[in-house]
């Protein structure tokens, strides 16, 4: 099962030349030095890993993939309004009724040496009020690289809340290409959380193809150590009176590296488009680096568009205020970083799911009792 993205990576030269890989070229090059063998069909995930995704909120709705393969034995039977089919070219998931929920978990289990897995998932949402949780977890161990193609199609007037969590240890890398197509009056509310990982790249392409379709994309990355995350948003408005609201946050500590590219294109004729982009980033160490680039290209008239991007440090005044009340420096830093991330997660409707992500984020924040 060869996915196009994997083919592209195999032709390393093309990827390396691409402008969108500019800031991740070295990270990719280092990764390509490893000799990745295809991952074996593996045993069931151990309890600590399962604890990461066995949420009470999604019990009865989990679909578990291990090293890229769908494992029905580890999964729940598809819930109401939810169908899954396994084809030669990956899985197809359909959410056909209001309230349909699926929690798709990709588990990466490393082998003795470096291994890779690949998968492709197609999702069709054809009703309002559908929900999908996409989660990537990996066990610690040898290097493991995942390549995941994810295509979403939202039918007319369909509504999907996508909560996507890539929460990885330092031995895991994940390259994702997610594309979504929104038909007339479709609504996509997406929240992406990218935590940890040796290299995580998410290409999120959204084609707003139908009139009055709406996209809300929120997201956050939290990185430390030598972790590297690269977010490439590419939103295209090709219809009338559509909107997108993009709000992303990034945090990098120690020697971590984060990249945010927020591309929005408004095609000729896409009048009445309302596009808003906000990207704020927090550097917690002098050695961390975040590059942000909002890129709005507008070919239509009568368009409302606004964008803002910042990279800053923790607010010293707020830090002193908290400390003056007795909160330790480390705890105060952590509190402020958690608050900074909270805005991106605030868009998740389900409070229980939101709390799951906040807890996972907490595991990647500076330790509460670490030294200054």
């Amino acid at each position: 099962m060869a996915t196009p993205l994997f083919d592209e990576l195999a032709r390393g030269d093309a990827v390396q030349r691409a402008e969108s890989w500019r800031y991740s070229r070295n990270a990719l090059r280092a990764l390509s030095q490893l000799d990745f063998a295809p991952a074996a069909a593996s045993a069931a995930p151990a309890a600590p890993l399962r604890a990461q995704y066995e949420w009470p909120q999604t019990q009865g709705h989990r679909l578990v993939f291990v090293n890229g393969r769908f494992v029905p034995a580890l999964s729940d039977p598809p819930g109401p309004g939810c169908r899954i089919e396994q084809g030669a070219d990956g899985c197809t998931l359909q959410l056909v009724a209001a309230g349909a929920l699926a929690h798709v978990v990709h588990v990466a289990l490393p082998g003795a040496g470096a291994t890779r897995w690949q998968a492709r998932l197609q999702l069709v949402a054809s009703a309002p009020g559908t929900r999908l949780i996409e989660q990537h977890v990996a066990a610690e161990g040898a290097d493991v690289l995942g390549v995941f193609d994810f295509d979403l199609a939202l039918a007319e007037r369909a509504g999907l809340e996508l909560v996507s969590l890539g929460d990885l240890p330092g031995n895991a890398s994940l390259l994702r290409r997610t594309t979504a197509t929104l038909a007339r009056e479709a609504q996509l509310h997406a929240t992406h959380a990218v935590f940890g990982g040796r290299l995580q790249r998410l290409e999120l392409g959204v084609a707003i193809a139908g009139d009055r379709a709406r996209l809300r994309s929120r997201g956050v990355f939290v990185l430390r150590g030598r972790e590297h995350a690269d977010l490439q948003l590419d939103i295209g408005h090709a219809a009338r009176d559509s909107s997108c609201e993009v709000l992303w946050r990034g945090v990098a500590d120690q020697r971590a590296r984060g990249i945010f590219h927020g591309g929005i294109t408004v095609e000729a004729g896409a009048d009445g488009t309302d596009a808003q982009l906000s990207n704020k980033n927090l550097l917690l160490s002098a050695l961390a680096e975040i590059d942000t680039k909002p890129a709005l290209v507008i070919h239509a008239d009568e368009v409302k568009a606004a964008h803002g991007a910042t990279v800053g440090q923790i607010d010293e005044r707020a830090l002193f205020y908290l400390r003056s009340r007795g909160i330790t420096l480390a705890a105060a830093r952590r509190m402020l970083v958690a608050a900074f991330c909270a805005e991106a997660l605030a868009g998740i409707d389900d409070a229980g799911v939101r709390e799951q992500l906040a807890q996972r984020a907490a595991a990647h924040l500076p330790a509460p009792e670490a030294g200054a």
Binding site: S324, G326, T328, L329, L336
Partner: protein
């Protein structure tokens, strides 16, 4: 309780405090008055441990310890509280969570047991009642979107909740209407205690109509130039700070 001796402080290369000395005993309320730029806020910030204030000379002793070598959070745990002139807005941090974290961090540092949610909320409700505050304040983010008056009330609420032994109020009265001013004064008066001291930094005598100080000090050009009882504040209000300057010139002559 607090002994400041010949304190010299530099901020961004400029000397602001130039030999300030002050003795505050437990149970006393001291008012520190003075014109703009005299160094009033600098003193509050130095005592609370803010970065960027360089002590070039002098000592500050609190309960027999060198206060200046403690981290801000250690000072708080030791009972020092600064009510900020400009309380900081912290979006995303819930006020209740903040207060509970602060109180428990202080208790932990002092070797006391942490309060659980029920114990904490009980204490919060008691304090809210005393200060006539709405509990709506608790559900919001710390000072975020608060009016000037609400921010100052929140400072006094924190003061009541944290029960410090030395409370420094940095121009808490500035920008307050008369009702808010009375509320602040009531809050302070309800906390007057033989074991607790207050240092009330203010521009105007007005607050001191409601919080009657034991001692009043006039700070000018980085040092205390006049000390007296509550009457001194009234004389200042009548004659202005220029009067002090004239008296000093006359005294020197």
């Amino acid at each position: 309780m607090l002994t400041i001796d010949n304190l010299h402080v530099r901020v961004a290369g400029k000397e602001i405090l130039k030999g300030l000395s002050l003795q505050v005993n437990a149970g006393e309320v001291h008012a520190l008055m003075g014109p703009n730029g005299a160094g009033k806020s600098t003193l509050g910030n130095v005592l609370a441990g803010r970065d960027g204030y360089e002590v070039t000379q002098g000592t500050v002793t609190y309960d027999g310890r060198n206060l200046l070598e403690l981290e801000p959070e250690a000072r708080a745990a030791a009972g020092v509280f600064l009510a900020f002139q400009y309380p900081v807005e912290i979006p995303g941090v819930n006020n209740t969570y903040f207060l509970r974290t602060a109180l428990n961090a202080q208790r932990k540092a002092r070797g006391e047991g942490e309060l659980d949610t029920m114990q904490f909320l009980k204490r919060v409700r008691e304090k809210l009642a005393v200060l006539h505050l709405k509990d709506e304040l608790l559900h919001r983010a710390v000072n975020a979107g608060f009016s000037g008056g609400e921010k100052k009330r929140n400072e006094i609420f924190q003061l009541a909740l944290l029960e410090p032994r030395l409370a420094i109020l940095d121009e808490t009265d500035s920008g307050l209407d008369i009702d808010a001013l009375k509320m602040v004064a009531d809050g302070v008066n309800s906390m007057r205690d033989p074991a607790r001291a207050f240092l009330v930094v203010t521009h105007y005598q007005r607050l001191l109509d409601y919080i009657v100080p034991d001692r009043v000090h006039v700070l000018a050009d980085g040092r205390i130039v006049e000390s007296g009882d509550a009457d001194l504040a009234r004389k200042l209000e009548e004659h202005g700070y220029a009067w002090i300057a004239e008296r000093r010139v006359a005294g020197a002559a």
